[in-house]
């Protein structure tokens, strides 16, 4: 959760910018009643501490979809995307592609990081919650786009590889209010796990590309 604190500090910075821009926020005006309701509404349980409701700049911005999607918020969107892009690290060992079979297992699991989980419970990618991936899996969600045939359709170029790496690491680098979790930023998946998920999408042998 160190990251949250770091981004919190950032959010103070950006908030100042907000104020200077003088934009009207439909919902994001500071409302002591709302703040109190949120503060009194939760209690810490296990690994789910109260710091989880402290918002970073991205979360704060995206909690007002009317504003964040508006024309006047364009600059702010770009700024949020840049903050997120700047935090992305390329693989330390230079390896982008891991084991697609392990990637499939990560994509299947939607577990981890809840107050009923332990700190060492492996966190799943939960990819099938929102995406179609291996065409054999019929139980898939549609909040995100279908990823079936991912590399077959897009190719295996380094551009595609880097873009995919970045997107899994921190989707908000491309779309400030993407619904996709920031897997590396919040340490939901480690580097090796992300390499495995990459393989599921980009290994020619993966069922995704058959």
């Amino acid at each position: 959760m160190k990251n949250i604190k770091f981004l919190l500090a950032l959010s103070v910075l950006t908030l100042t910018t907000f104020a200077m821009q003088g934009t009207a926020f439909a919902q994001q005006v500071n409302d002591p009643k709302f703040n109190k309701m949120m503060k009194d509404g939760f209690k810490a349980d296990g690994i789910a501490g109260l710091d989880r409701i402290d918002q970073d700049a991205t979360q704060k911005f995206c909690s007002d979809p009317v504003f964040s999607g508006s024309k006047q918020a364009e600059k702010m969107r770009e700024k949020i995307q840049k903050i997120n892009m700047d935090g992305i690290k390329q693989p330390s060992d230079g390896k982008y592609i891991g084991d697609w079979k392990k990637g499939e297992a990560i994509a299947q699991s939607g577990r981890g990081a809840t107050w009923t989980d332990k700190a060492d419970t492996p966190i799943g990618g939960g990819c099938y919650n929102c995406h179609q991936i291996d065409p054999k899996e019929i139980s898939y969600g549609n909040i995100g786009p279908s990823l079936t045939g991912y590399a077959k359709l897009r190719g295996y170029s380094q551009d595609v590889v880097t873009y995919t790496w970045n997107r899994i690491n921190n989707s908000k680098a491309y779309n400030a209010c993407s619904n996709m979790p920031r897997f590396a930023h919040f340490k939901l998946l480690n580097e090796q796990q992300i390499q495995d998920v990459m393989a599921l999408l980009l290994d020619p042998a993966s069922p995704v590309n058959q």
Binding site: Q27, G41, A48, R52, Q55, A113, I138, S139, G141, G149
Partner: protein, 271 residues
């Protein structure tokens, strides 16, 4: 580089569209099959087992005052249960608060029976005093089945609660950046094979609010709205929402008001 990449992607788009159309067909039949499954289990909703127990608990003297809940005012007069749940949450003069069904029942248990609400708040779901609460909720909501959802925001406190709930609905947090809106603010979305009602619309809100509380087949438990919200927050990776807190009531107010005009189908039967 960004631009070149976009161009590169475009060539794949047409091919992608083609695959999508075939997979949509497969998906359609899967959702049809799921609909058939739901239809098959709809007959024989185990919620009935809870309703019967709840009716007994409503009429049975309990607590330090050894009184029943039969004089409990759920908003349309002391002792009137029929139709009451369809109009909740609402503002109550005696507590000067907007209350949902469960927080109101806690007030009745405290005032009429002398029970300590904190015990209810602290109890885990499905156990001890909460088990009684769940049965009573099943009994109360069944007596609004078929009624039109009719929630008022005429009182300033009701209006305020609605606005607070709306803001909470869009509030992102936690290590996955989720808010209620991440899953429930667009039409036609699913997680895995589960349809996600768009709660920002009347139709979607009625599908969500109108079918909870419900018996959940995956856990084999009857879930009240408070437990439904609790598990949403768990999956959102938020901290634990406090039972009966204003936060939970505000969210219920937002959903219920949006659902106005829909039909109460509770107790529902859910995955």
């Amino acid at each position: 580089m960004q631009r070149k990449f976009t161009l590169g992607l475009a060539s794949g788009v047409l091919a992608a569209l083609l695959t999508v159309s075939t997979s949509v067909l497969a998906q359609k039949s899967a959702t049809d099959d799921i609909a058939k499954y739901r239809e098959m289990i709809a007959d024989g909703n185990p919620s009935e087992l809870y309703e019967a127990a709840g009716e007994d608990l409503w009429k049975k003297p309990a607590g330090p005052k050894n009184a029943t809940l039969e004089k409990c005012d759920l908003g349309i007069g002391p002792g009137v249960v029929k139709g009451a749940a369809a109009q909740l949450p609402r503002y109550f003069k005696d507590t000067n608060k907007v209350q949902d069904l469960e927080s109101r029942l806690m007030t009745c248990m405290q005032v009429l029976q002398g029970r300590d609400p904190q015990e209810m708040i602290d109890a885990p779901f499905q156990k001890g005093p909460k088990k009684d609460m769940e049965a009573i909720v099943a009994y109360v909501v069944t007596l609004s089945k078929g009624d039109k959802i009719k929630v008022s925001t005429a009182h300033p406190k009701e209006k305020e609660m609605y606005e607070l709930g709306k803001r909470a609905f869009f509030y992102q947090g936690g290590p996955m950046d989720f808010s209620c809106a991440s899953c429930h603010a667009e039409d036609g979305k699913r997680i895995r094979l589960q349809d996600l009602p768009n709660i920002t619309t009347q139709k979607g809100a009625a599908l969500g609010w109108g079918y909870w509380p419900a018996y959940r087949v995956s856990s084999g438990q009857f879930w009240t709205m408070q437990q439904r919200l609790n598990d949403c927050f768990r999956q959102q990776r938020f901290p634990f929402p406090i039972y009966g807190s204003d936060l939970t009531i505000a969210l219920s107010m937002y959903m219920a008001k949006n659902a106005n005009g829909g039909t109460v189908e509770t107790p529902g039967l859910k995955r």
